[in-house]
């Protein structure tokens, strides 16, 4: 086996190794723990970057999974340690490793309580998330899914805000409910086909022809993923979890954890149960559109900056659902589609939105953290005039907010454009409703956020010199994200190239 074949295994288990080392370090040596965590998180990031480069040269047009490892693990029930990536998986792995490094770097400056546990949990969580993106076996997938859940629960419960207990338990129970349903469905798939292997199952299409059982299994998995996404009406854990989570926790939650659900749609639900998915595709489209519009409306009525951005995630993840739903809906019997590429473009849009939302909303949560550290409040009613007072912060915030708004020339636009390009061809009526979200997004970003925080008069009496401009370590946190927003905005190919072939592959393997 070549050297590259072991890359994914190293990327996956390195964070675990590092987290175990942290456990061995004495807890009073906080600086060493912080530095060690940051440095060790760089290795997966670098290896992923190398893989992106290698994948771009050697595997860009491949039909299967690259760098896969497949070892029999539990023979009694035919469970394999089977990992591998396609373009989408690799992009998600990159997103995870990047946001982890930035989160740890940022946390270095702001976490002073129970440092050892925090950094241990963070790296442990990274492994869980990476595992989900890499798994090609349902048991493995489920294990990592749960492994990522617990540290996040603890991060919110220990380092969170005032209402952290309610929020963390709500988060835990909500997602656990989904997980249980998902697990039962996975077992059903195994009982039907005798394998947990995702690649195998994608060829076998269990429950093909049995639309009743197929639908039941479909909804089991669907519930798990849709709660995680989260789509309306399963979204109310998200605002609470975000509002209470520490900054870096919010970044990982919005940036990576929400993507697990969306990723599951594309890796498991669609390839394995295409018939049921096609049958219920309009439901997915509807939930997507409702999430987009509903989330955007609710954003307008928020007064807490973090809560607002949490709801904006509901709205933005709705585009992912709309894109996937539209792509699948194009295969309904009798669907009229003008352009053969519409489905692939819609899927590209959904996948790109997963990446973009991670970068952009991750950035937004960092920015909220930056101001919260100074003001100790996130109430939108108390700020104003920061545009003149903290121009550097304003610049970073404005670019990120505009990217979130979907301004052309920045990353966010492309995903919306691709999704609507597909949706307007396939599910036109729903697309017309969904497009309303674009206007509302502009309203809550520019009116509720930018205007409240940055424009108007600066309240000298209230703030004095408390609201200082960004520190160097905060700049280091934000710049990589801002640069990615601009580069992807000007040249989306840099990401879409990885996603396009994945979309074509997924669609071409459907019956």
């Amino acid at each position: 086996m070549s050297f590259n074949a072991w890359m994914l295994t190293i990327i996956l288990f390195w964070p675990l190794l590092a987290s175990l080392v942290i456990l061995l370090l004495p807890s009073e040596q906080e600086q060493q723990i912080k530095n060690f965590a940051i440095w060790s998180s760089l290795l997966p990031l670098l290896l992923t970057s190398y893989l992106l480069w290698d994948y771009g040269i050697n595997h860009l047009l491949a039909a299967g999974f690259a760098y896969s490892v497949n070892i029999l693990w539990i023979p009694q029930i035919n469970v394999h340690f089977h990992i591998g990536v396609d373009g989408l998986g690799l992009v998600m792995v990159f997103l995870t490793t990047l946001l982890t490094t930035l989160s740890l770097w940022y946390s270095k400056g702001v976490i002073h309580k129970r440092v050892k546990e925090y950094f241990f949990l963070f790296l442990f969580m990274e492994m869980g998330m990476l595992g989900v993106f890499l798994s090609l076996d349902l048991v493995l997938f489920y294990l990592f899914w749960e492994v990522g859940l617990v540290p996040m629960y603890l991060l919110i419960g220990i380092w969170g805000g005032k209402n952290r207990l309610y929020a963390s338990i709500k988060f835990f129970l909500y997602t656990l409910t989904g997980s249980v349903a998902m697990l039962l469905a996975f077992i059903a798939l195994y009982l039907k086909s005798g394998t947990f292997d995702i690649v195998e199952l994608s060829k076998l299409h269990p429950f093909q022809g049995d639309i009743v059982l197929g639908s039941i299994v479909f909804f089991g998995i669907f519930l798990g993923f849709t709660i995680k996404l989260p789509a309306w009406p399963f979204h109310t854990w998200l605002p609470d979890a975000h509002t209470e989570a520490p900054t870096a926790g919010s970044v990982m939650l919005a940036g990576v954890m929400l993507k697990l659900g969306a990723f599951g749609y594309l890796r498991i639900l669609l390839p394995i149960l295409p018939q049921a998915f096609i049958k219920w595709s309009m439901l997915v489209v509807a939930l997507g559109v409702i999430s987009i519009v509903y989330g955007a409306f609710v954003c307008i009525a928020q007064d807490d900056l973090k809560r607002l951005i949490a709801y904006s995630s509901v709205s933005h993840m709705g585009y992912v659902l709309l894109g996937i739903g539209a792509a699948v809906a194009s295969m309904r019997p009798g669907a009229i589609v003008a352009n053969a590429n519409s489905a692939a473009i819609a899927l590209n849009g959904a996948a790109l939105q997963m990446f973009n939302h991670g970068i952009i909303t991750g950035g937004l949560f960092f920015l909220v953290g930056i101001i919260y550290e100074r003001a100790h409040t996130r109430d939108l009613g108390v700020f104003g005039g920061l545009s003149g007072k903290t121009p550097y912060y304003y610049g970073l915030f404005l670019v990120t907010a505009l990217a979130s708004l979907g301004l052309p020339g920045l990353a966010g636009f492309w995903a919306e454009f691709f999704v609507f390009r597909g949706a307007f061809d396939i599910v036109r009526i729903w697309a017309i409703v969904g497009v309303l979200g674009v206007i509302l997004t502009a309203a809550y970003i520019l009116w509720r956020i930018v205007q409240s925080v940055f424009l108007g008069q600066f309240d000298e009496e209230r703030w004095g010199n408390k609201l200082t401009d960004v520190e160097p370590y905060e700049k280091v946190t934000m710049w990589p994200l801002v640069i990615i927003m601009v580069i992807v905005g000007l040249y989306p190919t840099i990401v879409v190239n990885f996603l396009n072939q994945t979309s074509i592959n997924i669609l071409s393997k459907l019956p």
Partner: protein, 705 residues
């Protein structure tokens, strides 16, 4: 030569973009250097643009067949690849005559106008970003890039309107501009993605190939109310909504007057000359789509003509009853853009482009001159404050209000005369001024093609135009100063007046390039070079090339309305100049009509009470729904589970089970004690449990293998 200019095209938008980045990241502390970088970049960009323009002028016929195109693969779309690209063809070249020249001149003007502003560098950075957007838009060879640059301009417009963001009215105006145009943009985007889906491309040359146009014209789609409509017409109308927003046409016009809160150079550049006319350019660019069904005799072009003509008259009537010097001009801009759309709507392609260019120059001139006036008024106000003449100051002071002016002609003659030149051009003063020729081309076309409703609407609007312009000139410049500020006004510095005079020359003489050949005497002298420039391209598009419109009928009507408008304006405002504190002479005779016009037909109030109120109401209700209903269900389920478990404990467990399996209690008690120890609330114990599980799993794994 063509080849080398072609490879330079990307510099046109890139240079200003580099200036933007440099100023924002590196030179923002140094005002002089920042401004210098912006102007240098603009000058170089202008130079490259004019190289391309020169090639186009050199040989329009050759250029039509061989435009400068620079294309590149951009991103994959399933099995195909989207091609991006830049193009300079005849319409782009026509725009490049005007756009970089005005941006450069207005940047120079801003050197003086923005003097002393604490965010001087930021201003020039935004201008540079705007230039990127506008220049990029002009030379985009596909609708997607066009749209991207279009939105970048929208952003700059937002930032620059709210440039003085401490002022509530300023940042609110910025928001209003962005959101209102966003409504149009979203509809445009819907049209664009559908066009993309049905054509498989967004490159203008592909979409407008004869085969694709016929394809679009032959597909019929069902539209509510209208029934079955050719797709081309639907797409054209959707695209036109983008123009309605950007060019501030009824019913999305409400943002432009408020946009006057921005610094005046911004009003001149973005909200008069370039960005707002980009909407017209959008229709110019996508005209084949509007034209393909029934040679333009279709719902899409009728809609364009209706909106244009209606807005032209509607906005002109509002302008009559405004006192803010810039708001009058804003409504006049809305009205003049309406003329251009009306021209396009009746198929007068050439006349629309001609009026677009002429209007850009004379309207920029008017704004810059009014900026000079405002600058003067503000400085006089400062001066008086400084000298301690508070008693002479009217409070609240508004430097834009024409009622506070009067008699400025002698105090700032360069400004006044250039303003008057622009004003006469806007009014369409016969023969000498550019506005006359371009407006006459539109009126002539309407007459010639038999669109009498459009013709008479525009003719009446022309009367109002001449009237409010004269009113404006008389109120500001004639008679005696009505306040101490006007008394102490002095002429603006050379950086401001020099660009004024350069633009004034064009605003007067530019029209001479478009004098119809058939015009007695003058026509033979100049041979209408502008028409010769545009006509080959129209032939290429398969448009009906209008015989250069010259007819006595429309000319006489035009003469009459313009001269009578000027006469009545002078009669009311010039003959007996306005007195201090006196009401407008029209206020009493018009009565409630005046109130209606002065309040802009209460359209803002209508929107606030309907769409905006509804949005906010919905937002609040849905947030409440989230909290009460959805979370209520979630918490309710949690409560129910607890209730059930309690019932199990007290009823089922204690009464029924306990009696039967009393012995089990000891075990469960022991179990409870044991699990209590696990729930210590200490993280390390949880971690230990996780670790233990992992080890067990790992061990199981090894053991089982």
């Amino acid at each position: 030569m063509n080849e080398s200019v072609r490879t330079l095209l990307w510099l046109i938008p890139l240079l200003p973009f580099l200036a933007f980045v440099t100023i924002i990241l590196f030179t923002n502390q140094d005002k002089k250097v920042s401004a210098g970088i912006e102007i240098a970049a603009m000058f170089l960009s202008w130079l490259v643009s004019w190289l391309a323009v020169a090639l186009a002028i050199w040989s329009p016929h050759y250029f039509v067949k061989h435009p400068l195109i620079l294309s590149f693969p951009w991103f994959p779309t399933g099995t195909t690849v989207f091609q991006g690209g830049l193009i300079v063809d005849i319409p782009s070249a026509a725009m490049l005559i005007m756009v970089p020249s005005l941006i450069t001149l207005i940047s120079i003007y801003s050197l003086g106008y923005m003097e002393g502003d604490k965010r001087y560098s930021r201003f020039f950075a935004y201008l540079a970003l705007f230039a990127t957007g506008m220049l990029g838009l002009v030379i985009s060879d596909n609708l997607l890039m066009f749209f991207i640059f279009w939105e970048i301009m929208g952003l700059c417009s937002y930032l620059l309107i709210g440039f003085w963001f401490e002022k509530k009215s300023a940042y609110q105006a910025g928001l209003k501009a962005f959101l209102t145009t966003r409504v149009g943009d979203v509809i445009l985007m819907a049209g664009m993605v559908m066009l993309f889906a049905y054509s498989g491309s967004l490159t203008f040359r592909d979409i407008f190939s004869q085969a694709n146009l016929e394809h679009l014209a032959n597909i019929h789609v069902m539209v509510p109310i209208a029934g079955s409509v050719p797709l081309a017409v639907v797409l054209a109308i959707l695209i036109f909504w983008g123009a309605i927003g950007k060019s501030a046409q009824f019913p999305l016009h409400v943002w432009l007057p408020d946009a006057m809160e921005g610094p005046t150079p911004v009003s001149a550049l973005i909200h008069a000359a370039t960005m707002v006319s980009a909407g017209v350019f959008l229709v110019v660019r996508t005209f084949p789509l509007f034209y393909v069904v029934a040679h333009g005799d279709n719902a899409a072009l009728h809609f364009v003509a209706f909106i244009g003509a209606f807005t032209a008259l509607f906005a002109a009537t509002i302008a009559v009853a405004q006192f803010d010097i810039k708001r009058v001009l804003a409504y006049s801009t809305i009205s003049q853009l309406g003329y251009m759309f009306a021209a396009l709507g009746i198929g007068a392609y050439y006349a629309a482009i001609f009026h677009l260019l002429m209007h850009a120059f004379f309207k920029a001139l008017l704004f810059l001159a009014s900026g000079s006036v405002i600058h003067g008024m503000e400085h006089a106000h400062h001066h008086l404050l400084h000298e301690g003449h508070e008693e002479k100051l009217w409070l609240p002071f508004d430097p834009n209000d024409m009622r506070f002016m009067g008699g400025l002609l002698n105090r700032m003659p360069k400004t006044a005369w250039t303003f008057i030149a622009g004003g006469l051009s806007l009014s369409g003063f016969p023969l000498l001024f550019s506005g006359f020729w371009s407006k006459d081309a539109i009126l002539g076309s309407a007459w010639l093609t038999g669109h009498s409703v459009v013709f008479w609407t525009l003719a009446i609007a022309a009367f109002f135009t001449a009237f409010y312009t004269t009113r404006q000139i008389c109120m500001s410049f004639c008679g005696q100063p009505r306040t101490a500020m006007a008394e102490h006004v002095s002429e603006s510095p050379g950086t401001m007046t020099t660009p004024l005079m350069i633009i004034a020359l064009v605003a007067i003489g530019g029209g001479w390039f478009g004098i119809p050949t058939a015009f007695p005497g003058l026509g033979l002298l100049v041979h209408n070079p502008f028409h010769h420039f545009i006509a080959p391209y129209m032939t290429y598009l398969g448009l009906h090339v209008e015989a250069e419109p010259f007819l006595w009928g429309p000319l006489l009507v035009s003469f009459t309305v313009v001269l009578s408008g000027i006469f009545f304006g002078w009669l009311l405002y010039g003959w007996h100049p306005m007195k201090v504190g006196a009401p407008d002479p029209l206020e009493e005779p018009l009565g409630p009509l005046w109130t209606l016009l002065h309040n802009k037909y209460w359209i803002d109030e209508f929107y606030n009470a309907t769409i905006i109120a509804l949005t906010i109401w919905l937002a609040r209700e849905l947030a409440l729904f989230d909290k009460v209903v959805i979370d209520g269900i979630v918490n309710g389920v949690g409560y129910l589970v607890r209730l059930v478990s309690r019932w199990l404990r007290y009823v089922f467990d204690e009464i029924i089970i306990e009696g039967i399996v009393n012995g089990m209690a000891t075990i469960s008690n022991w179990f409870g004690e044991w699990t209590r120890q696990i729930q210590t609330g200490q993280v390390q114990n949880y971690l230990f449990a996780i670790m233990l599980t992992l080890v067990v799993l790992l061990g199981l794994d090894l053991f089982l293998i």
